[in-house]
Amino acid sequence: MLRFLTRRLLSAVLVLFAVSVLSFLMFFALPRDPVTAMCPKNCNPARLERVRQELGLSDPLYQQYVGYMKGIFVGRDLSSALGGHCDAPCLGYSYVNSEPVTRTITRVLPVTLSIVLPAAVLWLALGVGLGMISALRRGTLLDRLAIGFSLAGASLQLYFVGAVLLLVFCYTLHVVPVPHYTSIWSNPLDWADGLVLPWVTLAFLFSAIYARLSRAQMLETLSEDFVRTARAKGLSKSTVYGRHALRAAITPIVTIAGMDVGAALGGTVVTETTFGLQGLGRTVWDAVREGDLPTLMATVLIAAVFVVVANILVDVLYAFIDPRVRLR
């Protein structure tokens, strides 16, 4: 286990290193002058030159990279116009937002986490639960309803569902406030109140996929020989389904869920835009539109970290579930 973790962490570091080098090259080594790309509209040559100086853009590329990475791990000194010393993890300075990128990220990341994590719990519970029930009640009315639900979820678009829910529950019935973000630490109730619509929307759409997946998995598992053996032993239905079938059926779902959550944490652009929440996804979107390279670079790295960490977690979880998987 320890050896596995060390190895996985090492390879994760390698992956992240590669991602950072590649994205750095892409953003800073493009033929387009990054300063112009970064500069807000009215840029005179003098200002351009100052930005170039402040960002150290005349240094050789490798030096810039080392400087950037150093900033992440131990912090670095930016020019005094940019606020002087920038503590680790320093992700550079955004002229577009006129603030260090780290400050932007610490502001928007909790928003995305608050949207995605509770929504993920909801969609997994709902999706897997529904899928299992409809597999066990195969062919009944309940099963058909569940299938209809998943079809609806799979064919609807997030912005559409989001807009309808907003219109109905927020603007017409006034049962929920306009989506907004409050820190969970300062006011948990308001936090939940402000995010319940995005949760429900995400949960509806994703649980549709998970319901279909779990139903198929469960049906397949129910035809396995070991389920027959469990019944032949005289076990009760709930034990056969719960302990024997569910455990085997859930394994592939864990993998997919890990990937989905990891990817969603990297930003839920559509959700955030639909509900007007300023999370990581909106930030990426704005950065792309405005050519805010330092912010973009930082969000790419963060998304990569989420995906890599989710991967490791999935592997560890998998090994806990399936003894045939060896962590080596």
Partner: protein
Amino acid sequence: MAPPVPEPDPAQSQPYLAVRDLTVRFDTEDGVVRAVNGVSFSVRPGRTLCVVGESGSGKSVASLAILGLHNPRRTRLSGQILVGGRDVVGLDEKQIRTMRGRSMAMIFQDPLSALHPYYTVGRQIVEAYRVHHPSAGKAEARRHAVAMLGRVGIPQPDRRFDRYPHEFSGGMRQRVMIAMALVNHPDLLIADEPTTALDVTVQAQILDLLADLQSEFNTAIVLITHDLGVVSQVAHDVLVMYGGRAVEQGTVEQVLRRPQHPYTWGLLASVPTLRGDPDADLTPISGSPPSMINLPAGCAFHPRCRYAGETEGRSTTEIPLLRPAGEPDHLVACHLSDADRARLREHEVTPTEVA
């Protein structure tokens, strides 16, 4: 299980399992699968019945019906299955569940897929023990499971207890299955091709083990197999199935040495002999097994039977009934007359080759 048994007077010991006129049909999209059609047999405690027949002849379906393991919504069952005097046909799931694993247990063909890959073998055996001994503590159940693992010949059972199925060899896995099936000392054991996946040496060990356990617990055994070698080794009685019907049944002596049905002759002729002439031709039965949805009219075997023409057309119109084949308890379902069969058999098989 060896044929010469010290037998209590058979007339006095009641059969533990008595199947009467069992019919199993599945409703499928392609039509009704007539998997088992009016089969009757019985097994007494301490005795072994071997069920033989080609792939698809309904052997597994019949045995699963005894444990009530078919999906009731798509399966139509009729007839009687008396287990210890109690008819399990039509019994609801709750009631039959208390009998599974205790009155009747089953060993499946492929022990790797039949054991749960995520649980240790010990845990799976303990689970089987505790369903029927709910008051037993963990430690007691473990003791029983370890003892059973030792009993089926698994070395260091105490340590193997905590291993997973994939860490065992095929033969050891089958022993685990046997331990799991026998941990509650069931009165009836159904073994569906328990040794097909194993090599010959291991197969012999497993069969010996079953024989030992049978004489210890006086278990009634139904053993399903393709292998007539196995039959000659372990059976007291034999049931030959074709197209979901019993075509011949009797004692192992009768069926292997004095077979009456042309299909049985075919089965015997396709067995490699151990003693006979190594160059002698093996003659597999020509043609292929019938469709269970559209069984041939009349005798289901007639399209493949060389003597179908000698029945004055009855073989294609009339389903032959099981009737006495001359000796007591020996039954055959064939339109040929006793005299014809006796004459034809001479040319077909030299039955001593197998038995």
